[in-house]
Point group: C2
Amino acid sequence: MTDNRPHMPPAVVLLSGGLDSYTAAAVARRDGFDLRALSIRYGQRHHQEIDAAARVAHALGVAQHLVLDLDLSAMGGSALTSADIAVPKDRTVTADEIPVTYVPARNTIFLSIALGWAEVLGASDIFIGVNALDYSGYPDCRPDFIRAFERMAQLATKAGVEGRPFTVHTPLMHLGKAEIIRLGVSLGLDYALTISCYDPAPDGTPCGRCDSCQLRAAGFASAGLADPATRVAR
Amino acid sequence: MTDNRPHMPPAVVLLSGGLDSYTAAAVARRDGFDLRALSIRYGQRHHQEIDAAARVAHALGVAQHLVLDLDLSAMGGSALTSADIAVPKDRTVTADEIPVTYVPARNTIFLSIALGWAEVLGASDIFIGVNALDYSGYPDCRPDFIRAFERMAQLATKAGVEGRPFTVHTPLMHLGKAEIIRLGVSLGLDYALTISCYDPAPDGTPCGRCDSCQLRAAGFASAGLADPATRVAR
């Protein structure tokens, strides 16, 4: 598929199956990158995420979608990977505390794997859909972390040592959820393909009550749009 | 097993099955840490590495040995993970060039996973057996990289944000191979348990000709010791 894109530099885009990473990947495509999507099956409670990532990758027309397994549930420590910790429901979402859905070092691990693949591909660009506003309080979604990762990446790699540093693009960093949604809609995205819920039913129906469902619903409401992925009337 | 070690802080030690990581872990044990060994089955050509890591972990009496799978061979790009790239033999080992056995971002990925587990365990200490002298030219074995990783880790994690930074210990950083071997022998290590070869025979016999075999042989020779893991007469 890359043969007919001779002038497009490759970029590794982390794709979770959620709304944010889909939008970040669409920005990468808009900006002229040849997309290589990377998803990690990390032992998250619901496998619907990876199914959604595959749908999104197909919709974006990526050149390649690599799905790797890394069973972080063997470590535990998060409501997203451990059956022993419940996903909080109906809480007031605030960035002032780090919730139990925090997966220790998750973005560091994902970006590190993306870095390795980028170096293999000869890519200098990585896209991740983190944002510092509606970010649920995760430390590894902040600009300081991203800049520190870039500095580390330059020292860690053959490419960096040879003068080809990596850029971690965070096009959503300073956008609120409503702005992200409006951006995606302007790029023609179909958010019905995505899933954001931390604790969906087996058929993929979102719970509507976890932090992620709350942030998503508030975002669509604020954007004045209906969420096409919501199966229940609101 | 941890019940009778109430005063020993936990430390995550990356254990490859080779000589260096065994020695680094032994230093951690000597320094009073409760060892949690982490090995990654990353698609390296030989599975003997993980067998050796299990032997070493048992010999060290670690409290826990976590083996995680992450198939980096799906990315390719290294002689250690791709059948398409041959392991170089009989070359002059120099730190001036980065060889094809370099696995892109490997230590970054391993340290990131170690960081996640350390945070789950409440550990602030990670041990890795890198060294900057006989290091085969890998960029992710240098002190600058380790310091950059620590700075990134502090920003990446809940623990770091809350004022509990991580230390990446590299007790072998400035030791030559002979010094590492003498250190390990002084700590009572049995190097017959380890494997260093990049391309061993199916029965585990080292090739004797790859960079890693050459560095190991030179180290034992310089230390004036016989390598207990070498099955062929030298």
